[in-house]
C-alpha cells in the first residue's frame, strides 16, 4: 500500500481535532488547564510497531483500548508507561500523594481519560467520513504491548497509525501514545474514504 503525504496529513489533522476536543472536555471536567497535542504521527506496519518506539518497549504499559468494526476495523488505544499514567491521574484529580501509583479508583479514572481521548479521535474520523462503526466497551489493560493486544488477533493486524501525544499540565509534560491498529485492508478503506470525503468537501 502506498501511503502518500496528503493522507498522512489528513489523518494527523483528524487526530489533532479529536485530541483538541478531548482536551477541552478534560479541562471542563477537571477544572485544570491541560493541553494536548500530537506533534508526530507515523504510519507503520504492525510488525514494525515495537521496534519503532522506545515508549512501547516497556513490559508494564497501561492502556485504555477501544475495538471498532464496520467499514474499517481495528483497535484504538491510549498507551502510557504506568508511572506517567499515575502521574497524569494524580495531577488531573489534584491529589497530593508522595508516590503516584494506580489503584482501582485511579485505574477507573484513567479509563475515563482514555475513553474521552479514544472517543474524540474516533468521533473526529467518523464524523468527517459520516461513517457508523460498532464499538466494544472501553477496556483498561496492563502489560507489554503484545499482552495488551492479545496474540489471538495479531495476525489480523496490518497497519498502525501511531500518534505521539503530549499531555501538558502545569509542570508536567507527559507523553502517551494514541495507537490505531487496523485490520488487513482497513487502513486502505479508511484512506480511500478520507480521499473521497476530502474530494466531496472541496
Amino acid at each position: 500500500m502506498n501511503i502518500d503525504e496528503d493522507s498522512c496529513d489528513a489523518i494527523r489533522e483528524l487526530i489533532n481535532i479529536g485530541v483538541g476536543r478531548a482536551a477541552g472536555l478534560l479541562n471542563e471536567m477537571t477544572g485544570t488547564h491541560i493541553r494536548l497535542n500530537v506533534p508526530e504521527v507515523h504510519i507503520l506496519k504492525f510488525s514494525d510497531l515495537i521496534r519503532s518506539n522506545k515508549l512501547l518497549e516497556s513490559d508494564q504499559l497501561s492502556a485504555v483500548t477501544l475495538r471498532f468494526s464496520g467499514a474499517f476495523s481495528g483497535i484504538s488505544m491510549l498507551v502510557f508507561p504506568p508511572d506517567s499514567a499515575a502521574l497524569l491521574i494524580t495531577a488531573l484529580t489534584g491529589e497530593e500523594i508522595e508516590e503516584p501509583e494506580l489503584d482501582a479508583l485511579r485505574i477507573e479514572t484513567l479509563n475515563e481519560v482514555g475513553n474521552i481521548v479514544n472517543n474524540a479521535v474516533m468521533g473526529s474520523i467518523t464524523n468527517f467520513l459520516n461513517a457508523h462503526l460498532m464499538y466494544s466497551m472501553p477496556t483498561y489493560l496492563e502489560g507489554d504491548i503484545r499482552q495488551i493486544l492479545g496474540t489471538e488477533r495479531a495476525s489480523a493486524y496490518h497497519w498502525v497509525v501511531l500518534a505521539i501525544s503530549k499531555f501538558m499540565l502545569e509542570d508536567l509534560n507527559i507523553v502517551g501514545n494514541i495507537l490505531m491498529i487496523f485490520e488487513i485492508g482497513s487502513l486502505d478503506t479508511l484512506l480511500t474514504r478520507i480521499q473521497e470525503a476530502a474530494g466531496n468537501k472541496k
Binding site: 472536555l25 471542563e28 471536567m29 477537571t30 477501544l66 471498532f68 491521574i89 484529580t93 500523594i97 508522595e98 508516590e99 489503584d103 482501582a104 479508583l105 485511579r106 477507573e108 479514572t109 479509563n111 475515563e112 475513553n115 474521552i116 479514544n118 472517543n119 474516533m122 468521533g123 467518523t126 457508523h132 462503526l133 464499538y135 466497551m137 472501553p138
Partner: protein, 368 residues
C-alpha cells in the same frame, strides 16, 4: 422492533444488580429498573416519561451533555469514572451520604431510533475500601520513614558515643598523664623550672576543659532533625574583626543541614583567625550552582595550608590548637551528606569548598 418492545423489555433489567436507565435523545426516560428505583426511592410509574435532566440537573452540564450526545450519534460508549463523577444521579445510602457510582452509557438503535442505555454500578464499598487501603498505605510509608529516621539517629548516636568514649578515655587520659608528668617533674625542680611546668600543667588542664566542652557539643550533634538554613543570613551574622573585609556573593540559597550549621561558619572563621594570624585581611564567601550540586566556598588571604596537611586537617585531634574545629565542621555537614575539602594554595590563602548535594539545597524564596 417498535418502541413498545423496548419498554416491555425493561422488565428484564429488573433482575440486574446495576441501575439501568434508558433514555431517548430528548432525555425522556423509557426504562427505569428496580435497582435504581430502590436506590432513589423513585419508581417507574412516576418516572418513565420524565426528562432525566429535570430530575438530575447536573446532567445539563456540557461535560455530560457533549459525551451523551456523542453516544446518541452512534459513537462509542461513554465511561464516567467515580473520581470525576462520583454521583451521576442522587442515590442516598441507608446510613447517610450518597452512593458512589461508576457509570457507562451505550448506544442502542431500534426502528431507526436512537436510545442511550445508562448503566450505573454502586461502587460505594469499593471506594471505601480503596480509601482505607490508601490511608493504611500512607500510614505504613510514614511509619517506615519514621523507623528509618530513628534507625539513622541510633546509628549516628552510637557512632558519636563510640567517639565520645574515645575522646574521654584516650584524649583526656593522655592529657592527665601529661599533667601528672609535669607534677612529677616539679618535685625537686628549681623555682624557675617549677613556674614553667606549672604553666604547662595549666595549658594541659585547659585542653582537658576544651575536650570536655567538645563532648558536650558533639553529644547533641544529629539529635535534632536537619532543617533548612538561609546561608546568607548565617554568614552575615558573623562578627569579624574590623581589619578583615567580608565579601559575599551568590548565597541566595537555603541548605538542609543539622541545626548546628552556624557552628560550621563560626569554626571556619575561627580557623581563619587562628591560622591566618594578622596576615588575613579578607574573607570571601561565594556560592554557585555546579551541575546538580551547590558549591559554597570560604576563602581567606592568609598563608594557606600545606598540601601534605590538606586531608589530615579534618581528622580529630590534628592541628595546632584542639584539633577539633575542622573535625566538627566535617561531622556537622556529613549529617545531610554535605562534604568539605580544602583546595587553597600555600601563600595564596586557605580555600574550603563545601559541596551540597542535589535535594539538600534550594533557591531561597524570592531568589529564583
Amino acid at each position: 422492533m417498535n418502541e413498545g418492545s423496548l419498554i416491555s423489555r425493561c422488565d428484564y433489567f429488573d433482575i440486574l444488580p446495576s441501575g439501568i436507565i434508558v433514555i431517548r435523545p430528548d432525555y425522556t426516560i423509557v426504562c427505569w429498573n428496580r435497582t435504581i428505583a430502590e436506590w432513589t426511592g423513585m419508581y417507574p410509574e412516576e418516572i418513565v416519561g420524565c426528562d432525566l435532566r429535570e430530575l438530575f440537573p447536573r446532567l445539563k452540564n456540557r461535560r455530560y451533555e457533549i459525551r451523551i450526545r456523542q453516544v446518541f450519534d452512534g459513537g462509542p460508549a461513554a465511561f464516567f469514572s467515580t473520581q470525576f463523577h462520583p454521583h451521576f444521579i442522587d442515590a442516598p445510602l441507608p446510613q447517610g451520604g450518597l452512593r458512589f457510582q461508576r457509570t457507562s452509557i451505550h448506544s442502542i438503535r431500534e426502528d431507526e431510533k436512537n436510545f442511550a442505555l445508562i448503566v450505573i454500578d454502586d461502587v460505594s464499598e469499593l471506594v471505601s475500601q480503596v480509601h482505607s487501603f490508601r490511608e493504611m498505605k500512607n500510614r505504613a510509608i510514614h511509619e517506615v520513614e519514621e523507623r528509618k529516621r530513628i534507625e539513622d539517629a541510633f546509628r549516628q548516636a552510637n557512632r558519636q558515643l563510640t567517639l565520645l568514649s574515645g575522646i574521654t578515655r584516650h584524649d583526656i587520659l593522655n592529657s592527665v598523664a601529661i599533667a601528672a608528668g609535669y607534677l612529677d617533674l616539679m618535685a625537686g625542680s628549681p623555682e624557675e623550672k617549677k613556674e614553667e611546668y606549672l604553666e604547662r600543667i595549666q595549658q594541659t588542664l585547659k585542653k582537658i576543659q576544651q575536650q570536655i566542652e567538645f563532648t558536650r557539643t558533639y553529644e547533641i550533634l544529629g539529635s535534632n532533625k536537619p532543617v533548612w538554613h538561609n546561608v546568607d543570613a548565617i554568614v552575615r551574622k558573623m562578627h569579624l574583626p574590623e581589619r578583615i573585609r567580608l565579601e559575599i556573593s551568590g548565597l541566595g540559597v537555603d541548605i538542609m543541614a543539622d541545626p548546628m550549621l552556624g557552628k560550621v561558619f563560626g569554626n571556619l572563621l575561627d580557623n581563619t583567625l587562628r591560622h591566618g594570624g594578622g596576615e588575613v585581611s579578607m574573607v570571601v564567601v561565594d556560592g554557585r550552582v555546579l551541575g546538580e550540586e551547590f558549591l559554597l566556598t570560604w576563602q581567606d588571604d592568609g598563608p594557606g595550608i600545606d598540601p601534605a596537611e590538606k586531608i589530615k586537617i579534618f581528622n580529630r585531634g590534628y592541628g595546632k590548637n584542639t584539633g577539633l574545629g575542622l573535625f566538627m565542621i566535617r561531622e556537622i555537614l556529613s549529617i545531610t551528606g554535605i562534604t568539605i575539602e580544602e583546595t587553597g594554595e600555600v601563600g595564596k590563602g586557605a580555600r574550603f569548598e563545601i559541596h551540597v548535594p542535589p535535594g539538600k539545597w534550594r533557591a531561597t524564596e524570592g531568589n529564583d
